[in-house]
């Protein structure tokens, strides 16, 4: 069975993709819809949703209201699907798919654990290079283009919002679509440029290689070597997710938003896409700046810290790495929720000023400085 999987990488990729999306991303996205409402409620001295419960005979399962997302999903599915009379039906239906598909596909490049060594699960990997002959990478697609693939697909997401605004035949949603396209295109530039410094340091575009380059020592992680880029990228990427303080395309009290005409599950998909993007942003930040699945001082054969050693079997190492990777992402999602409920919204002209006049020059400076340092350290070769 394992041999069959190792030989047929396409099947491997399919299974990993399904596991990653269905077992991690979607549940986390659904949970963050609940977490957002609950966390905002805590910040605002409210209770938030806490009533949804599951009744199995005499057992009442309430779980602090986590089940609200199930109720929400059921509501979305059973709501009437309204299409405005003069809307372009094809584009109207296409837009939500275009909004969510690119993000989900891009998850393929995110490494979520170190390579699995087949046949050595319960042994301590003292010499990985010679012991691991056949491996299963914990990454759906290990392609050399790596982040270029991400940038290419991420720029497709703008079509979802723009088309939604345009196809709805509503002036407000059109304004929202236009805001979305200008915002996302402007911030994509900064987003790409802010990662350039990291690419220079790691010498690769491939996410797994970047994680390996950072190693298990936190002092060599991206957030330490590229602190400015971390903040620039986080800002630009939050702008890409179109959430407050960058929720101008939605701009609820102003222009109501690009999905004003959407109802039922079509709206639900936009809603979900926003949270999937949040998780994806967290995954990218984790990969580039927080050492990906690396756990501080955890090497393939166990923990090594200041002469102190704790040997661990291979499977335990991989599991710890998986858990820590998930924790990093959850913390970053939490951070985004915190930002979202603290800051007010920008105005379009201020958004453009921030993007083009402050973040973009800052990221250019970052590239120049990083390039200089990298050149100097390589001895000018």
């Amino acid at each position: 069975m394992l041999e069959f999987l190792i030989e047929h990488t396409w099947l491997q990729a399919l299974i990993k993709m399904a596991l990653l999306i269905l077992a991690f991303v979607m549940p986390l996205a659904s949970l963050s819809t609940w977490a957002e409402r609950r966390q905002s409620a805590m910040m605002q001295d409210r209770l938030g949703p806490n009533r949804a419960e599951l009744r199995l005979g005499s057992i009442e399962l309430r779980l602090w209201g986590i089940l609200h997302f199930v109720a929400d999903a059921l509501k979305m599915v059973f709501k009437e699907d309204v299409v405005p009379a003069r809307a372009n039906r094809f584009l109207f239906g296409l837009a939500p798919i275009l909004a969510i598909a690119p993000v989900i596909i891009t998850f393929a490049i995110i490494p979520f654990g170190s390579d699995l060594c087949v046949g050595h699960a319960f042994e301590v990997l003292r010499d990985p290079a010679s012991m691991c002959t056949s491996t299963i990478p914990l990454q759906v697609a290990r392609i050399d283009q790596g982040f270029l693939f991400y940038f290419a697909l991420a720029s497709l997401a703008v079509y979802g919002t723009t088309l939604a605004g345009w196809a709805s035949y509503n002036k407000w949603s059109l304004l929202g679509g236009l805001r979305a396209s200008s915002q996302m295109m402007s911030y994509e530039v900064t987003m790409g440029l802010s990662l350039m410094g990291a690419f220079l340091i790691y010498g690769t575009l491939e996410p797994h290689a970047m994680v390996l380059a950072q190693g298990p020592t936190p002092s060599s992680w991206g957030i330490v070597t590229q602190p400015l880029a971390f903040f620039i990228f986080l800002t630009a990427a939050i702008a890409e997710t179109k959430r407050a303080p960058f929720d101008l395309p939605e701009g609820e009290p102003e222009i109501i938003g690009y999905f004003v005409e959407y109802s039922g599950m079509r709206f639900g998909i936009f809603f979900l896409a926003e949270f999937v993007e949040t998780i994806f942003l967290a995954a990218v930040v984790t990969t580039v700046f927080l050492g990906g699945w690396q756990v501080p001082w955890l090497y393939p054969d166990g923990f090594h810290l200041m002469g102190w050693t704790l040997e661990l079997p291979h499977l335990a190492v991989v599991l710890i790495q998986l858990v820590v990777w998930s924790l990093k992402i959850i913390v970053l999602c939490w951070l985004q929720l915190l930002i979202r409920w603290t800051l007010p919204r920008f105005r379009p002209d201020q958004l453009m000023r921030l993007g083009w006049k402050q973040l973009l020059p800052a990221s250019l400076i970052n590239i120049v400085v990083t390039a200089g340092v990298v050149l100097a350290r390589s001895g000018g070769r």
Binding site: S40, D45, P253, T342, R345
Partner: protein
């Protein structure tokens, strides 16, 4: 000797929103009112040598008309603004009010003087007690009993009025903060408003439609533990205001959204009849409580905060400070309040005690005549004005000597403010319409009546 030619003075042409520096220098309006290009100047984007290229470069644009309201998330109180926009810039605005018209003035003619109190509750429905007080003062002025109102009743009116002013400002600022995206601030302020309303509910029996004030006094005395609870409340509201300020006042995004947006000069404000916090934000220190003291306002030590630029941030800051001043008044009032009756001792005006109504024939007839015929107000007309939540709240009433008004006209502050809304929003962006409208604090019930 030839006449010296005037030094070359390039006319400054300014596009976009005023910067805080321009606003402080007072040049913002001037620069943007009518940019006059110097002779021979052409916009840079038309300076093309090739005609064909120029045609290609010019994007065919045309202004778009959008309806903001009457059903729009930010148009609280149902108002419609027909915006002509060019991209995100507002080129023309047509503000249409009246969607919440309830025939207040006509209905008042059919009600007895006392029955009008519930209608006044529904004028500015976030500070109903201020309307109650304003209306009661107008009728009392016509009755000529202003000086005979018991002191305790006057103090109670000040207390409930200032509490209502705080709830009014809390609602206005909270909603405006929510509209620029700071939803957390909104909930914090609404929480504080809820505390105040709980105390008001305990006193008057209702959260919103209090109808607590009566002609000649107030309906009931303060509850026994009112004073300590109010003191505790003031402490908690102060703390909440501090938290709110910590989130907003030094917040770069919030300041950028509010600073220098929708400036109005004091001259314009006076010419358009502005009153209240909006007028004071332009720097005119007019406050009815200070300039024409009514009730016992002359006994309190409080300041009238004024702004300097008349922009959205000043309107925000003035309201913020006014809440603090109101709390100062509350603290002094609760110290000074004397014991005594809360209703004027005059059987022609105040209802007899229930014990007499049920046990004596005189009491019952007195009660019956006051309820059915109403208080007889001598023929005449009077204009009485108080400081409402949004500005000068005036009542112009005419009596023909019967128990019902011949005419009861309200001067709603926000109606007057709405007249000049188009001047504030034209030239700005769509995104600026919302905070500007929020800071005008148009209350549908009061504006459309």
């Amino acid at each position: 000797m030839s006449h010296p030619s005037p030094p070359h003075q390039p006319t400054q042409i300014v596009f976009g929103m005023p910067t805080p520096a321009e606003v402080v220098a007072g040049t913002a309006l001037e620069l943007r009112s009518q940019p006059v290009p110097p002779p021979g100047w052409t916009p840079p984007w038309t300076r093309e040598e090739d005609e064909e290229e120029e045609e290609e470069l010019e994007l065919p644009t045309e202004p778009m008309t959008v309806n903001m309201g009457p059903s729009h998330p930010a148009m609280h109180g149902t108002v419609r603004i027909v915006l002509t926009v060019e991209g995100e810039t507002v080129r023309a605005a047509d503000v249409q009010v009246g969607y919440l018209h309830r025939c207040f003035e006509k209905e008042a003619e059919a009600a007895t003087w006392t029955q009008i109190f519930p209608y006044t509750d529904r004028l500015n429905y976030v500070s109903p007690l201020l309307n109650n007080v304003g209306y009661a003062l107008a009728v009392e002025k016509l009755l000529g009993i202003t000086d005979r109102i018991p002191e305790r009743a006057q103090y109670i009116r000040v207390i409930v009025g200032e509490m209502s002013r705080i709830t009014d400002h809390l609602t206005c600022l909270g909603a405006s903060a929510a509209e620029v995206g700071a939803l957390t601030v909104f909930f914090w302020m609404i929480k504080a408003r809820e505390w105040l309303w709980e105390l008001i509910e305990e006193l008057t029996g209702a959260r919103l439609t209090n109808s607590y004030v009566r002609i000649g006094g107030v309906a009931a005395d303060l509850t026994p533990d009112f004073a300590p609870r109010l003191r505790d409340l003031i402490r908690r509201v102060r703390q909440t205001l501090g938290e709110v300020e910590s989130l907003l006042v030094k917040n770069r995004i919030f300041r950028d959204r509010m600073d220098g947006v929708a400036c109005f000069s004091p001259q314009e404000a006076v010419a358009w009849g502005w009153t209240g916090p909006c007028l004071r934000s332009t720097g005119v220190p007019y406050d009815v409580r200070k300039d024409h003291p009514y009730l016992v306002y002359d006994r309190f030590d409080f300041d009238v905060p004024v702004g300097s630029r008349g922009d959205n941030y000043d309107r925000f800051a003035v309201r913020m400070e006014e809440m603090r001043q109101s709390m100062r008044i509350l603290e002094q009032a609760i110290e000074q309040i004397p014991p005594g009756p809360v209703q004027i001792d005059d059987p022609r005006i105040s209802l007899p005690p229930k014990r007499e109504v049920y046990n004596t024939i005189e009491g019952m007839i007195n009660h019956f005549k006051l309820i059915v015929d109403g208080i007889k107000v001598p023929a005449g007309e009077v204009y009485s004005y108080t400081e409402g939540g949004n500005g000068e709240l005036g009542f112009y009433i005419v009596s023909d000597g019967t128990g019902r008004p011949y005419k009861c006209r309200v001067r709603p502050p926000s109606f007057i403010l709405m007249q000049s809304l188009h001047k504030l929003i034209v030239g700005g962006g769509i995104a600026d319409v919302i905070p500007t409208f929020g800071m005008i604090n148009m209350i549908g019930g009061e504006c459309d009546r």
